[in-house]
Symmetry: C2
Subunit: 886 residues, 2 copies
């Protein structure tokens, strides 16, 4: 026969799979000798058996009874004893914390008989009847789904008739009678009087709540397996509501907001835990506890010190003081803000509790990214209008607009405020500084699209009643009209009225070299951990940069080179006219002339970047987009010409352009004449670029510099394409005096390049994965087209855990990457392999790339520190547990 039930003393925190997180930590505290009320845990295995068979496994309740008897013996009280009853608390507790499941039933064991015993034993009849009515309400709601309102209505009616002191014992006894009637009417039978029946039903209800709709939905979104099951913790009741020498509280071993050392928490005298959660009365600080009950306070701080030494991390606890006796009800490693995470990790190293490797596990690169955003000056901020889901970080200030057309037409910064967004809102979202919606969460259309564009976004602000027709929204009785200023914080989800001043991030200033590491505690912690990450990481971090200014910024942020320098930006702005000449060239001579005119411009651009990155590699990608992208869009031009013709006017140059645009129009430009194809089809185009690179390099060498250009060929799918370009490159290089040899490599951004990487490596000095395009082609969707159209639905259905454009799809795209790395290196062991898609700056993706054995990632300059930290974490992760996403 299996064992399904474990006394707290039998478990430990390593058994969270079996005991759930809460049960495992209760066991850990019990083993440490801390004052935990006696109790036991019904294992997740029992839950799984129950869910599989639809009934409790054989012997389960016998085991429960056995353990219950142990508690009775230890406490000298019997469950159901009408004179001095043992009461129980039942709490669910799975491996992962999970909203939507039944959580707690207190006071199990009370009935019409034992209520008198509780009154006698506590000497507080009012307390006893209040406990009984709490049990009926909680039991009815969580075991039988009776709406809380059905009970609350009666309580409110009673309260309306009583003074500020509240109902007395007699009134509460009457309320229990009313509650029992409500229960019977709603459930169809009387409230169960047998204490054991109450307990068994409570345990079954916890099991069944595993499959409650909200729980299933939550698991699907969070990718928690459906077959884990939950544990059930059964514990002797202790009471914080037995008078002024009782109370309940929560505490942290350090300040979870700033990381400042010292115990930190809230206390509520004469109250049960759920009163703290319900926020009915205001809590006081722990200092007040120290004043009221110095012994308990001292014991609590000692216990918390023990826990922190034991867990070697910030812990939070729930505790209750029953008539001067301290009981620990829960502990866990506590949540903290990003700033606190860095500060605490550095402190724990100082205190000798953890080493620097482990400290890297205590922070995430995502937290570092959050610390780099400018933030609102909270000292100067008013009360928020609302707090909702921070869906895309940043601090945005703008005037309220309610429709996309208005946003797109606005000349001042605006915040687009919508109930929810849809693909029609894209132009408005592009034009706005931020987006605020009243519906939807982190996977809503607004959230997905805003994150994709890097726009600040707050979602699901349900407190807002938005009325676009009237051009206003209301929060409570406050009205905000179109054109008024608001400020939204995409990190915390807060919405402020008016313009809140924005403070630059000290971390960003430090990273840019504007602050010394010792400037403050946070910056010092960031400096320390980032330095360690740099020391341990095997993955290089380069930046994607197209201009000398970007290159310099990247260098300050710690980039060890440029992994992607796009040459096409050098075709934009006032050079468009030259590009138009190139495109309209209708014979080889004019084509050559147009290219010759572009040569000195490209050369100067490249020389600037090589100078900014002197001594570091600069990977220069030959032109990638289709040429027609440099011309006006077809529909726009068609309309202009149609209008001119309808009015009998001469469309002029537009007519000429329209002919070219029509000829070059592509149904799917992403899959069209671009990249290496363009280079092989337009004679001299790549040659001109290679000449510009070679001449710029030669000039830098002549000037005493140390230029290290690399030439990268985009969109290769077959080794013969690369071989043809390489031949052209070598031919050009041979004609430029003073140009050193320049490595030639390829983007790996088509599935076929990855699948034939072994062949391609024969012609490539390096590979660089273009993970944006590789994701698009591997999944067969283009970011431009689908992120706004179906990604939110896919995220909600759980088809994506996260957008594959944010975090690399390790299963599909990642398989191609691993394959290409292995087969490329088999052909050419010294092959350098990097990644230059946007995933290069995503922490979870960086961890994947480190594991896949890449040499470097390349990302936007602002993400360089994030990638450095992620790479350091990945390096120490390879020898220990932990992932960036936890």
């Amino acid at each position: 026969m299996s064992t399904y039930v474990y006394d707290f003393i039998e478990g430990d925190r390593s058994r969270a799979d079996l005991l759930g997180g809460k049960g495992a930590n209760l066991a850990e505290m019990t083993r440490l000798g801390l004052p935990v009320p006696p109790g036991f845990t019904v294992s997740t295995e029992a839950c799984r058996a129950y869910l599989a068979d639809g009934r409790p496994p054989a012997g389960l309740f016998d085991e429960v009874n056995g353990h219950l008897r142990e508690i009775e013996i230890r406490l000298g009280r019997r469950f159901g004893d009408p004179h001095d009853p043992l009461l129980l608390a039942v709490r669910s507790g799975g491996r992962y914390s999970m909203p939507g499941m039944m959580e707690t039933i207190l006071d199990i064991g009370l009935n019409d008989a034992t209520v008198a015993g509780l009154a006698a034993q506590s000497g507080d009849e009012r307390f006893a009847w209040d406990s009984y009515r709490r049990l009926i309400q909680m039991f009815g709601r969580t075991v039988y789904g009776v709406p809380a309102d059905e009970f609350e209505r009666e309580l409110a009616a009673l309260r309306a008739t009583t003074g500020p002191a509240g109902p007395d014992a007699e009134q509460l006894r009457g309320l229990v009678g009313t509650y029992k009637k409500v229960f019977a009417a709603q459930v169809g039978h009387d409230f169960p009087q047998a204490p054991h029946e109450q307990l068994y039903l409570a345990i079954r209800a916890v099991f069944e709540s595993w499959n409650a709709e909200r729980a299933v939905l939550y698991r699907r979104r969070e990718h928690i397996p459906d077959d884990l099951g939950t544990a059930v913790n059964v514990m002797a009741m202790v009471f914080g509501n037995l008078g002024p020498d009782s109370g309940t509280g929560v505490a942290f071993t350090r300040d979870p907001a700033t990381g400042a050392p010292g115990v930190y928490g809230d206390y509520l005298p004469d109250a049960q835990g759920e009163d703290v959660v319900a926020g009915i009365r205001n809590t006081v600080g722990l200092a007040e506890l120290e004043r009221i009950d110095p012994a308990s306070f001292r014991q609590l701080t000692e216990i918390m010190a023990t826990l922190e030494r034991h867990y070697r991390d910030l812990c939070d606890v729930e505790f209750t003081i029953e008539r001067g006796k301290l009981w620990m009800l829960q502990t866990r490693v506590g949540k903290r803000t990003p700033a606190a995470a860095f500060v605490i990790a550095a402190q724990l190293v100082d205190e000798g509790l953890i080493g620097l490797d482990e400290a890297l596990h205590r922070v995430t690169a995502g937290q570092l990214a959050q610390l780099m955003f400018p933030a609102f000056d909270l000292a100067a901020a008013p009360e928020p209008l609302a707090t909702a889901v921070g869906a895309s970080p940043g601090a945005a200030v703008g005037r309220v607009v309610f429709d996309s057309a208005a946003a797109a037409a606005a000349t001042e910064p605006v915040i687009l405020v919508r109930r929810e967004t849809n693909p029609d809102d894209l132009p408005g979202m592009i034009a706005a500084r931020g987006v605020l919606t009243s519906r939807g969460g982190k996977t809503s259309h607004a959230a997905v699209v805003a994150r994709g564009m890097g726009r600040t976004c707050v979602c699901g602000a349900e407190a807002l009643r938005i009325d676009p027709e009237r051009g206003e929204f209301t929060v409570g009785d406050r009205v905000v009209r179109a054109g008024e200023l608001i400020s939204i914080d995409g990190t915390t989800g807060r919405v402020f009225p008016g313009e809140v001043p924005v403070q630059p991030s000290p971390v960003a200033r430090y990273l840019a070299g504007e602050l010394k590491p010792e400037a403050d505690r946070l910056v010092a912690a960031v400096h320390r951990l980032l330095s360690h990450a740099d020391a341990v990481r095997r993955l290089g971090v380069r930046a994607n940069a197209d201009t000398p200014a970007d290159a310099e910024r990247a260098r300050r942020f710690g980039a060890s080179g440029i992994g992607l320098c796009r040459t096409e930006h050098m075709f934009l702005g006032d050079r468009r006219e030259l590009v138009e000449r190139l495109i309209l060239a209708d014979d080889p001579d004019r084509l050559a002339e147009a290219l010759a005119a572009l040569l000195p411009l490209q050369r100067a651009d490249i020389e600037g970047i090589l100078a900014a990155m002197d001594g570091l590699p600069v990977t220069i990608r030959l032109i990638d987009p289709p040429l027609h992208e440099f011309l006006p869009p077809l529909a726009e031009l068609t309309a202009r010409v149609a209008r001119a013709e309808a009015l009998g006017e001469d469309p002029g140059r537009d007519g000429l352009l329209l002919t070219a645009v029509r000829r070059m129009h592509e149904a799917n430009p992403m899959l069209g004449l671009r990249g290496v194809r363009l280079g092989l089809v337009v004679p001299g185009l790549f040659g001109m670029q290679v000449r510009a690179i070679a001449e710029a390099t030669a000039q830098r060498v002549a000037a005493g510099g140390d230029p290290r250009p690399e030439i990268m060929v985009p969109l290769v799918a077959d080794v013969r394409e690369l071989a043809a370009v390489r031949a052209e490159v070598e031919a050009v290089l041979a004609t430029v005096p003073g140009a050193p040899p320049i490595p030639v490599g390829t983007m790996v951004e088509t599935p076929r390049a990855a699948l034939t990487a072994g062949d391609i490596a024969a012609e490539a000095h390096f590979f660089s994965f273009g993970t944006n395009d590789l994701t698009q082609t591997t999944w067969a969707f283009s970011r431009d087209d689908v992120e706004g159209s179906f990604f939110s639905g896919y995220l909600e259905r759980g088809i994506f855990a996260v957008s594959p454009f944010e975090t690399i799809d390790a299963t599909g795209v990642g398989r191609l990457i691993r394959l290409a790395v292995a087969e490329g290196r088999a052909t050419r062991p010294e092959l350098t392999v990097g990644v230059c898609g946007e995933h290069g700056g995503d922490p979870d993706s960086v961890a994947f790339f480190a594991d896949a054995g890449l040499d470097y990632v390349s990302c936007s300059p602002y993400r360089v520190p994030v990638a450095r930290l992620a790479a350091g974490r990945a390096a120490v992760r390879l020898t220990g547990p932990g992932s960036d996403s936890r």
Copy 2:
């Protein structure tokens, strides 16, 4: 020391790698005891050594001299003997026949001294001097690259002064003097008099011709490896030009045009082989040889019978008769027309020379495809205007147009005639019946695009002088003006004036059940081989069909089911209005109404197809294209609205549509909201289709039919997408009374579906590779955009051997297919795996699919017989040599 030189008696045909094709077959004939002039072969290994080191390998010429001595002994003549000289012919001969290489130098060993010996020995002074001047000319041209014109000019000048009898011996001796001067002037030194020097130089020249530009280009295009090298055949000269009892000819063991039995060939009395090739004089039939020299004729027919028995196939030979003595100079398995291939293969089976399996190797599925095209009635055809490259098969008749706009505007059938085509010509190519160009070959833009569209095309008709400005083309002095009728044969490359009557193909009529197998020899042969293919093939052949008429046709052509029934065609035509309602539906009720209106139409369509394919599987694909494809294009609509607005008119419904089109516009619709994504985003769309299928099936069952529908989900990239659709399918099926269970499977047409096939198979009853989309995404190019823009360049550069849209790219796309088959079957061993892209009808691709272990291919109804034959060939190929492309 290696052996580099092999006497003919030392080799055999299995050693073609070492001896080249020609050398191996000469050896084979020698071993059969046939009258081959004595000789030897310098191996490809010697050539490779020469090319690697830049000089002949040590001992090569010693070996040559040794073998030469053998010949001298055998013939009793010495090389260089001024009285009775042995003369030699030197011929190149690699593993594969290869134009662009040096081919032949005859009469090596003649010089100022031996010419007299030849005159004395032959008794023909004129012949001797003529041979000498031929040697100088051939040697100069092939060893030193002296332009042929330099010599021809002198010969022509001499001929102008002589009568019809031609120059006499004295005049030819004078010409030799002139030739020697030309040689010295062009080469820089005198014509080499030493016979051995001539021989060595000739051998070196053959070696070096391996790297001649044309040879390199040819190899690149044909994907012949560059490192094979060529062999050199050295053979004692025999002379067909020693008077009326001499001559030369070529012969086939059967008629290579029709396959009719009996020796067939051409003979030219008193001539050398190159005179036949040059076509200076008209040849006579072999019957004439029988009259002139019955003994030689008898010997020749016996030899050819021996060769055919020995090679068990049609052979062709070159032979020379020297004063009544027959010499065999070359043999090989002969080329033949598609019709002859089938007829001969069947005859060889009848004659017991080969079995049916081997007979399948003697034909190709591509030949069967050619036999299915209608052809011009050649009996009724005039002399062709020109014969050029047949680039895309078919017989097209139409009026000449010279520009695409005219073609697009034409109301009668037209042939587009261009010097060459470019992407601007696409609309014209779509509108025309056929395309005729004067430049470019099988890889030109015109050829590639025409094949992609199935348009008849003749390319590279260099005889045509096309003058679009004057609206005419000329061939010689014949002028053809715009609007005149011409007929072009895309199979043979012939261009006829006027309208040539088109005959339906008897093979196609047989396949469609309109002719009995015994109708004629060709049809009987096709029937026999195709029946055998059906008997041996393990690969099923289904058809892609969307209508009952197509389904019936496919069934007649031997399809064992429908592998792809596209439901989107059911949204076209007069149902567009319903689809517009669907798209414009702005609330769930209107959407449901629009879907309900489509339901009965879909149901009726599907019932018709299920009826036509009763008892056979019908794979019905849920709607795949993006919905906006059912609306007018954005540019067109924008122009209409712009025009209306410019004129102050109300754009009406166009305005409404434009809003929808703008909202749904996609930059890359191929990678947009389509397939399973559309099904998951538009509520009820797939559900309506599934209901239509289920109800149609139930009706067929009720009517006593045996419907076997399968539901196929397009564009799946993740198993969760498929799981979501399956859940919806099951839910709908449960509500349709009388509907049997229907298998649900998926297209595998995204790289990710292939990469995660092991997961996806858990939810799929079957896979069907959509190789069009899979090719597009694996290579990252869309057929619509690139086939006309850079494919011709890629084919010419040898980056593609053949368009990956014609023949499956086995390296890249094929790797994904093999991986998906293996991992899908690992999850679900009974998984059915097919292919429904256009590659399903391409013979080489079918061979790949058979090898990859697929269960069936599906192709257009007309390709079903082709796929059946290819599948049969693949089945026997797996146990023997041969491929469809040779």
